[in-house]
């Protein structure tokens, strides 16, 4: 397998007080292939952002390992040795473009910041030219080079954030709900932009979203998270046509059907929020993993 990321038994706890701890991630194992678009879905609080932040070394997981191109990024020494490589080849786009852009920096400064930090030589002339090139790539007018984030619309800001993430030509792009704060027509534009950029540049994209329709359209494979657990991983088509885990079924049934009669008569399966205990991922079909409770043979 040509996997880019291998996640093995990842756990992450947040301690609120000395006694109270939140298990944001519990025993997550999966792999992400080179050059694919991997979708991550799940309800709010499922731990999607936490997983993304662990992948970016923003959080240090409580236990478990993440291998990126064979490098164990959770190991401090190994991370330090490969710091430059890791920091330039992985980039992240956040949900709220308003808070992910420094309000006191111009668009051109924001986009070229990764180059300046890493003292990388721009490939298209000066820093400014590089910024203009990236802006054109993401469909922004270079006339906005000297604007500040508060002068831009939400969609434009998100494009600037994407430009910044692409500046170092990353191998892995993590997008943590990049479209959640945009209105519907802009959402479609941004999703199409991601698709186009991924086709052109071939980076691996991890796309976190609430909107299942967008995930189905965009992603090659999808992982479903529930209460810190990964419950199902499968190729996108297969997951949407034949979901296996109870939670996935409930989640998918929440997608409205564009037919009023069918919509009204539909019976939505209730997922009674079972407490997930010890379980393991089983490959029920080639490439289709479902989480099963331990000692439970039925799916």
């Amino acid at each position: 397998m040509n996997s880019l990321i291998e996640i093995k038994n990842l756990n992450h706890k947040f301690s609120l007080t000395k006694k109270i701890k939140i298990n944001a991630l519990e025993d997550v194992s999966m792999s992400i292939n080179k050059g694919e678009i991997f979708g991550l879905v799940g309800e709010s609080g499922a731990g999607k952002s936490t997983l993304a932040r662990c992948l970016m070394n923003i959080y240090t997981p409580s236990s478990g390992e993440i291998f990126y191109s064979g490098i164990n990024t959770c190991d401090k020494n190994e991370f330090r040795k490969n710091r430059k490589f890791l920091q330039t080849s992985r980039q992240i786009v956040f949900q709220d473009s308003a808070s992910s852009l420094n309000p006191r920096m111009s668009v051109s400064d924001i986009i070229t910041e990764p180059l300046v930090i890493n003292k990388a030589k721009p490939t298209h002339g000066s820093y400014r030219d590089e910024a203009a090139y990236l802006m054109e790539l993401t469909g922004l007018s270079p006339a906005l080079l000297e604007s500040f984030p508060n002068e831009l619309s939400g969609g434009q800001r998100q494009r600037v954030a994407i430009c910044r993430a692409l500046a170092l030509d990353p191998t892995l792009l993590l997008a943590d709900e990049p479209i959640a704060s945009l209105d519907v027509s802009i959402q479609a534009q941004i999703v199409n932009l991601f698709l186009k950029l991924q086709r052109e540049r071939g980076f691996t994209l991890v796309f976190i979203a609430h909107d299942l329709a967008m995930v189905e359209f965009l992603c090659d494979r999808v992982g479903v998270m529930y209460q810190g657990h990964l419950v199902e991983v499968a190729p996108s088509k297969e997951l949407f046509s034949s979901p296996m885990h109870e939670y996935t079924k409930a989640l998918l049934s929440a997608i409205p059907i564009p037919d009023p009669v069918a919509e009204r008569n539909r019976i939505i399966p209730v997922f009674d929020g079972i407490q997930l205990g010890k379980g393991e991922m089983r490959e029920v079909l080639p490439g289709h993993f479902v989480r099963c409770e331990r000692g439970d043979n039925a799916i």
């Binding site: 992240i92 808070s99 992910s100 910044r164």
Partner: protein, 294 residues
């Protein structure tokens, strides 16, 4: 046709944007800025306006009342007060600015480090700051003065600078705690940015407006401290002319009822301080306004 549809229930919001802007313009401290700029400029180019050598002691003309030759009179050592005002103003203003530079630099470094560090380090730094704050600054000043020996403008600036950073540092720390979790700082960290880049590009531009008022007030209090110290005989010696050291002759001046020796430097001091206060207040109001607009 035109009255077929009518929108009801919508009340146009009163358009007070324009009015608000006008009052803001009106309140801009133009007079203060002009007076302050004049004082600073003349002090900087005092050689052009001085009619006498401010350090020359004309023993035939001690305690002279303001007249045509000595515009503001002379002091009891026979120095021309008009020339001394500009010449000494330069030192007073220099001390104000330079000590503020020192204290602001310290405040930004200490506040940023404290805000960015782990909670344990942060607590240690803040406790140390509190201890430092609880020692009367006069005590520290006298102690450092004693170590440094005879005072001059640089040493006074240094002493005032390192005793007046604490309150700015606390504001810087609070702001840094707020900004450091914002996603642009996290993104910069992911790109491998160092501490220096984050402080310079992300932190300072975003908190500078909230400490601007305190920084300007720091200039004011530094000038006051210098005057107070000199007045009490712990600051600049009489040979080094500043507004403070001119006032240090006040006691003896009162005995000879030469009021101009106190009133004239005092007037310049108060005028400068008032102007700085006005400008500082304006900046604070502007800052509050831009925050409430968000």
């Amino acid at each position: 046709m035109d009255k077929q549809f009518e929108l009801v229930g919508i009340v146009n919001a009163p358009d007070d944007g324009e009015k608000g802007r006008k009052t803001a313009v009106k309140k801009r401290p133009v007079v203060s800025a002009v007076i302050l700029a004049l004082i600073v400029l003349i002090c900087l180019f005092c050689n052009l306006v001085m009619t006498k050598d401010p350090t020359y002691m004309d023993l035939y003309n001690c305690n002279v009342f303001p007249n045509g030759e000595f515009l503001f009179g002379t002091d009891m050592l026979g120095r021309d007060i008009f020339s001394m005002i500009w010449y000494g103003g330069r030192i007073s203003l220099f001390i104000g600015f330079f000590s503020t530079l020192i204290s602001t630099f310290l405040a930004i470094v200490i506040g940023s480090v404290s805000g960015l560090a782990s909670p344990a380090v942060d607590t240690v730094i803040m406790r140390a700051t509190d201890i430092f704050l609880s020692i009367p600054s006069l005590l520290i000043i006298i102690l450092i003065q004693a170590i440094l020996g005879t005072a001059n403008a640089l040493s006074i600036s240094f002493v005032i600078g390192i005793t007046s950073w604490t309150s700015i540092a606390k504001v810087v720390r609070t702001e840094v705690l707020r900004i450091r979790n914002s996603e642009y700082v996290i993104a910069a960290r992911c790109m491998g940015s160092g501490l220096f880049h984050i402080i310079l590009k992300h932190l300072i531009p975003n908190f500078i407006s909230s400490i601007m008022f305190m920084v300007i007030m720091n200039i004011r209090s530094a000038i006051v401290t210098e005057s107070t110290l000199s007045f009490m005989g712990m600051g600049l010696p009489v040979e080094i002319i500043s507004w403070g050291s001119m006032l240090s002759l006040a006691e003896r001046a009162l005995m000879t009822s030469s009021w101009w020796m106190i009133v004239i430097p005092g007037l310049f001091l108060v005028a400068t301080l008032l102007c700085i206060t006005n400008i500082g207040n304006y900046i604070r109001k502007e800052n509050n306004k831009s925050h409430s607009n968000l």
